[in-house]
Symmetry: none
Subunit: 195 residues, 4 copies
């Protein structure tokens, strides 16, 4: 077995600095959004040197995405109760609620920036959707296997069909979906996916 050589000579990398930068980055995104975000300001607030920040993250965008990722992923817990239809319905309603919040608006800003940022797609996928999309994919597949959902549509597309409308609303510059609107959309799509 390969021995993991964790300690080297010299002062070790400071976990405290990493955490402090993430915390200040999240705080700054909360206050000013991505448009008002700057690495200088994160360094100022966290008392972490800019060079140290650039050692941990390749860009301010990468830092912001990771800092915000915690909020995005914690906002809506993944679930798999055995009833795929009801689990998916719950997820849609909960995610709609998230995107109605301040946090959701900042998340959408970052989603847009991710399209052009260096490694933006990977960063967004990893910190915003990665674990969730995988879990929801399993949920859909389980549902199809159990006969709760029809299997004619690619499970990836099922996810897009369920959650896409929520984000679309926001980037259209329209009011976010209410709970009842989100519920109506979820019922529509789930009905179409009926076994």
């Amino acid at each position: 077995m390969v021995e993991q050589r964790t300690s080297r000579r010299g002062r070790p990398v400071s976990e405290a600095s990493r955490v402090a930068a993430l915390g200040s980055a999240a705080e700054l995104l909360d206050e000013r959004g991505w448009a008002g975000f700057s690495v200088d300001e994160v360094a100022r607030r966290s008392r972490v040197g800019k060079a140290t920040i650039y050692k941990h993250w390749p860009s301010g965008f990468a830092l912001a995405v990771q800092a915000w990722g915690e909020r995005v992923t914690q906002a809506v817990p993944t679930l798999n109760s055995g009833d795929a239809r009801s689990d998916l319905y719950d997820q849609v309603v909960r995610l709609a609620a998230f995107y109605r919040s301040r946090s959701g608006a900042v998340a959408v800003e970052l989603l847009g920036a991710g399209v052009s940022a260096e490694s933006g797609a990977e960063l967004i996928a990893e910190h915003f959707f990665g674990a969730r999309r995988t879990a929801t994919l399993a949920l859909v597949r389980d549902g199809i296997e159990r006969g709760q959902l029809g299997g004619e549509l690619d499970p990836q597309l099922v996810i897009d069909a369920l959650f896409g409308p929520i984000v679309f609303r926001l980037v259209n510059g329209m009011p976010a979906l209410t709970d009842s609107e989100a519920a109506a959309l979820a019922r529509l799509t789930l009905r179409a996916l009926g076994a």
Copy 2:
């Protein structure tokens, strides 16, 4: 009838400058996207003074959105042939093709930035979705009236259900929808909306 008072004192605003700025802005967005956009560079390329640009548009974002709006709205013509189901199906497939293009990626960047920009929602609504959303809304309403579509869902939500998944894919950092995937999604949603 309201008399159109077109002339005022002083030298009139130069239409040529306005058009030149829009052209250079579109060119710049094409080359570098919104992340690489700057008012200085637009001024440089178009040989239009910065002060003139700021007289026409309150911010670089407003200029970029208007410049790009022409591409977005011209990419997919609105239609109303009398057959709502087939018209909506066509729109979905065409729009998916647009968002697969370079132009679509830049459009998504701007959509994200619009969330936080000053008057971002209004600008996006006016230049990106305004006319199209209104036309598509009429299409849906006509379809319901003619009995081609079921009327249980708010027409606005119908639009979100149809077009939302396309944009969602992109901001998830995943490959854009292929024609056949877009078609499958359109069929799913239209089936659920069956009379």
Copy 3:
């Protein structure tokens, strides 16, 4: 006799505009000095078009010099009482008082700018020193003729010797000459010029 044909077709040149621009220019120089002077602001205050201003004066500097020239030349009246020594002594003391004032500070700003401005020397000579220097020159020559002053020094240099120290003080960043200091200097130089 040749009839002077002063009127031509079209609207005559407005003397009122010229005077208004001069007035606003002087007011602006009073408030902000040459450093804070701008043709735009003169046009704004005087409600005279910028093009009209540039028709009357080739540059903002020319306008400023003419506007301020009235203050400079009116501040110290020329005199020739027959007693050259006492007349020159009076002039020195009066001019020192002028350069102690706000008006004097602005005048020195313009003197400095005149060194490099287009036609600066001519403008300064004409509006600031022209008539005065000619008159004082006559005073000196009369004094020499009458035997009140020695004639070994070029009259032009006499003027420089008498009035130079006053301005020099100001551009050295030192407090302006008091009346008694100016008097002491005048007496020194006049003594040296004794017949």
Copy 4:
């Protein structure tokens, strides 16, 4: 003894940048004078960032004065040979020669601007006249002590009397003093100051 605390936290200020900016500023003043001077152009030529320039100097004027100060102070060396009369005479002739040069014209521009600039008087006094005026003052006082000069006039006024006419000529928009004119003026004033 006071301990010299030379090192501080953070990257030290770059002496090379400071020197490069001064050099480019002097070059620019030489070419275009104060009227054609701009911080942007200095930054461009010296490849020093504008922020760095504004860290070293509070304004473009402060930079220009310091950059030109070296030329002004090196143009005429101070001296004190023991013979005050001959030393002062030499100084007047040499200074007249300096003000006849291109460098002298730029210096006069800066003198005028210093009247209104923020801290203009202090900057001019420090970089243009400071050391020289102090040295010349000592020269005059030594001369009075040794009986070479009469002591009835304030030594500060002696300096104004000797050097004022030189600058006055220039700001009058007249040709600068020739060597022989300067010499005549110096003789006149020194005669008046005779013991």
